[in-house]
């Protein structure tokens, strides 16, 4: 489908309003303490909603571009926020449609309404994200500028052997600050493997503000793999809201290797019993990138498990931040929540700030957090060199060993191999 010019969304966002001071967080906001977004966005930036419209000729160019090969199988391709059906290959069990929610007041998520559509009598509590939304108007900006986002619906006829690539492509013509929004609805008992990716087809670098909402129904099993490897030096703000129903499981794997700024907000609400969520982050940054992983896992009921494992290697003049929060509600007894963050610094000019946080109101829980920041171990290096491995190779070997933990968490072998290539170019 090619968006038509006629259907341009009506939008009354005042271009003259200063979106920088109105919508971008300052470092005084604790959630953004180590990432000054204003440094990455020029002051005179104009924002406008994407129309999704693209001329056929330009679309053809993108399809046949050498920059990025659009997968032929199991691929959902969005360009400038608009689904391109002719380029996509949507497998059995996946339904994509637009959410037309006129009642949305910009400050809430779409998931609240969508969830109630599917199960009318459900007492849902998708509101657990409200404190984050209040402090992060950048989500509101996304809602304002993407008036009718897509819902990607997975049902039980979906074959879990397929992993689906979701491409958020942009040509950067609509402006310098790009938005995209979608909602994943994973039906009960459904097992899915999703690989979202942001691709810049434009000529200049850009900032991409991508918001994904996820609803995992009972016994759903969601696996999401996000590779962040933008060679055009663009910035990405990637926000995920995941709400989980009884017996559901979610696994998020984030791989960051390239990009001017990478900010990942991953917020998970474990809303019903026996939910499990794991969030793994692996990064190897060697130039001037800035990476900020911001994680909040909320245990709202008893008997849920969560696990965070973030392994980062910082080289060159890179900077990083990790903030991982585990929140355990008063009645969420028997919670098991683990968190680990290890940082390996391979350059004297690199730096990282780590902020593990536990907020526990229940008294019968197992929670842990651990954080390390260190350099390459001299003893290990000498050990490898004494066996004939040259220093440069030995450092590479130690880095790959360091990152193995989190990469080995990828269940499907085909994706694991893909990721290993991304990191080690083997």
């Amino acid at each position: 489908m090619i968006g038509s010019k006629k259907n341009q969304p009506k939008f009354n966002f005042d271009k003259k309003s200063n979106f920088i001071s109105d919508f971008l967080p300052s470092i005084k906001n604790e959630d953004w303490r180590y990432t000054n977004l204003k440094k990455f966005i020029p002051e005179n930036t104009e924002v406008q909603p994407l129309t999704g419209y693209i001329e056929q000729e330009k679309l053809d160019k993108i399809i046949h571009s050498n920059k990025f090969k659009i997968p032929e199988k199991n691929c959902i391709f969005f360009l400038n926020g608009s689904l391109q059906e002719t380029v996509s290959d949507i497998p059995q069990g996946v339904l994509i449609k637009k959410i037309n929610d006129k009642t949305n007041n910009n400050r809430t998520l779409y998931m609240n309404k969508v969830a109630s559509e599917f199960s009318a009598d459900e007492k849902n509590s998708y509101t657990g994200f409200s404190s984050f939304l209040e402090k992060n108007k950048i989500i509101e900006l996304n809602t304002l500028l993407t008036s009718s986002p897509y819902i990607i619906h997975f049902d039980r006829t979906f074959d879990s052997k397929n992993n689906i690539k979701i491409i958020h492509g942009f040509t950067n013509e609509g402006g310098w600050f790009n938005q995209d929004r979608c909602l994943y609805f994973i039906e009960s008992g459904c097992e899915v493997y999703i690989q979202p990716e942001v691709v810049n087809f434009g000529k200049h670098d850009s900032v991409f503000n991508i918001v994904s909402e996820i609803i995992c129904k009972e016994e759903a099993n969601l696996n999401m793999y996000m590779g962040q490897n933008d060679p055009t030096n663009s910035s990405i703000i990637n926000t995920i809201f995941c709400a989980q129903e009884k017996n559901s499981e979610s696994n998020f794997n984030i791989f960051s290797v390239n990009g001017k700024l990478i900010r990942n907000n991953v917020l998970v609400n474990l809303m019903n019993e026996n939910c499990a969520s794991s969030i793994y982050g692996t990064s190897l940054l060697e130039n001037k990138e800035h990476l900020d992983n911001f994680i909040v896992i909320s245990h709202l009921v008893e008997n849920c498990k969560s696990n965070q494992l973030f392994k980062s290697v910082y080289g060159g003049e890179t900077t990083g931040s990790f903030c991982g929060k585990i929140y355990v509600e008063k009645n969420a007894q028997q919670t098991e929540a683990l968190q680990q963050n290890n940082n390996l610094m391979i350059s004297k000019k690199a730096s990282v700030n780590a902020k593990p946080q536990l907020e526990i109101f229940a008294d019968d829980v197992v929670c842990s957090h651990g954080c390390t920041i260190g350099a390459i171990d001299e003893k290990s290096l000498f050990y490898l060199r004494s066996r004939g491995v040259p220093e440069k190779e030995a450092i590479k070997l130690l880095i790959s060993g360091f990152l193995t933990d989190s990469i080995s968490m990828i269940k499907p072998e085909r994706i694991r191999d893909e990721v290993k290539k991304l990191f080690f170019k083997e």
Partner: protein, 245 residues
């Protein structure tokens, strides 16, 4: 093969450890070095292998007629030096299998030789693992991570056999081993022992020397070799202690 003359070595913090040490090791010889704790045995082993923690202040360190004192550890390994560590380092995330393959082929590369084929390497792995009674599953584990003391030492000897060095230095490889493990380690050394391969064996106990018969025994004390002789020295030390010298 190895020629050390008046070697004086300090730590990075300028503490003097080796204070004028002399040692000559020829092809096919096995030298045992004994001595009290803190006398400089491990430092000697590290310095020969090129540990950057130590600074050579004075003296000669030659291997195969070449001055190696300023060579990188990997260069020394390439021309045939091997150190079995007293405390083998744990390397998470890298399997012993992968590591030994990398080490072998890096060595080939620096010698300007073709890399071994996967088949050749596998055959060598199997042969050497068999000789040391090592299970092939063991080789898939991360280097030294979660290994018992005995397993660590066995893994060191396994790597030694794989790399086939000209001079192997065994730094207290026997410490903490039970009799069976000791025999296996000794059999590994004896497997490699030939008229071309030499060994320096650092030990506290005469027991190991029952299984690996040394040609020479040296006593190192306060950074110098103070006594050299045949295997009888080790026996005397076992009976009478270091005060005897």
């Amino acid at each position: 093969m190895l020629k050390i003359k008046n070697l004086k070595v300090n730590t990075e913090t300028e503490i003097s450890i080796l204070k004028g040490l002399n040692l000559d090791v020829n092809e096919g010889e096995v030298h045992a070095i004994m001595g009290p704790n803190g006398s400089g045995k491990s430092t000697l082993a590290s310095v020969i292998s090129g540990d950057p923690k130590y600074v050579i202040k004075e003296g000669v360190l030659e291997f195969l007629g070449e001055d190696v004192s300023e060579m990188d550890p990997e260069e020394r390994a390439a021309i045939g030096l091997f150190l079995s560590f007293q405390y083998p380092v744990e390397i998470p995330g890298i399997s012993l299998n992968n590591f030994i393959k990398t080490a072998l082929n890096q060595k080939q590369k620096s010698l300007g030789l073709e890399p071994f084929s996967a088949k050749e390497i596998l055959a060598r792995i199997k042969e050497n693992a068999n000789a040391l009674k090592i299970n092939l599953d063991f080789i898939k584990r991360s280097v030294n991570v979660g290994f018992s003391g005995g397993e660590k030492k066995r893994a060191e000897i396994f790597q030694m056999l794989m790399l086939n060095p000209k001079l192997s230095i065994l730094d207290e490889t026997d410490s903490g081993l039970d009799i069976d493990a000791l025999k296996i380690v000794a059999s590994g050394v004896n497997k490699l022992r030939s008229e071309n391969n030499s060994f320096i064996i650092i030990t506290h106990y005469q027991r190991l020397l029952d299984y690996i018969k040394p040609d020479f025994v040296h006593v190192l004390s306060d950074g110098k070799i103070i006594k050299s002789g045949g295997p009888e020295i080790a026996k005397m030390l076992e009976e009478k202690g270091y005060d005897w010298i």
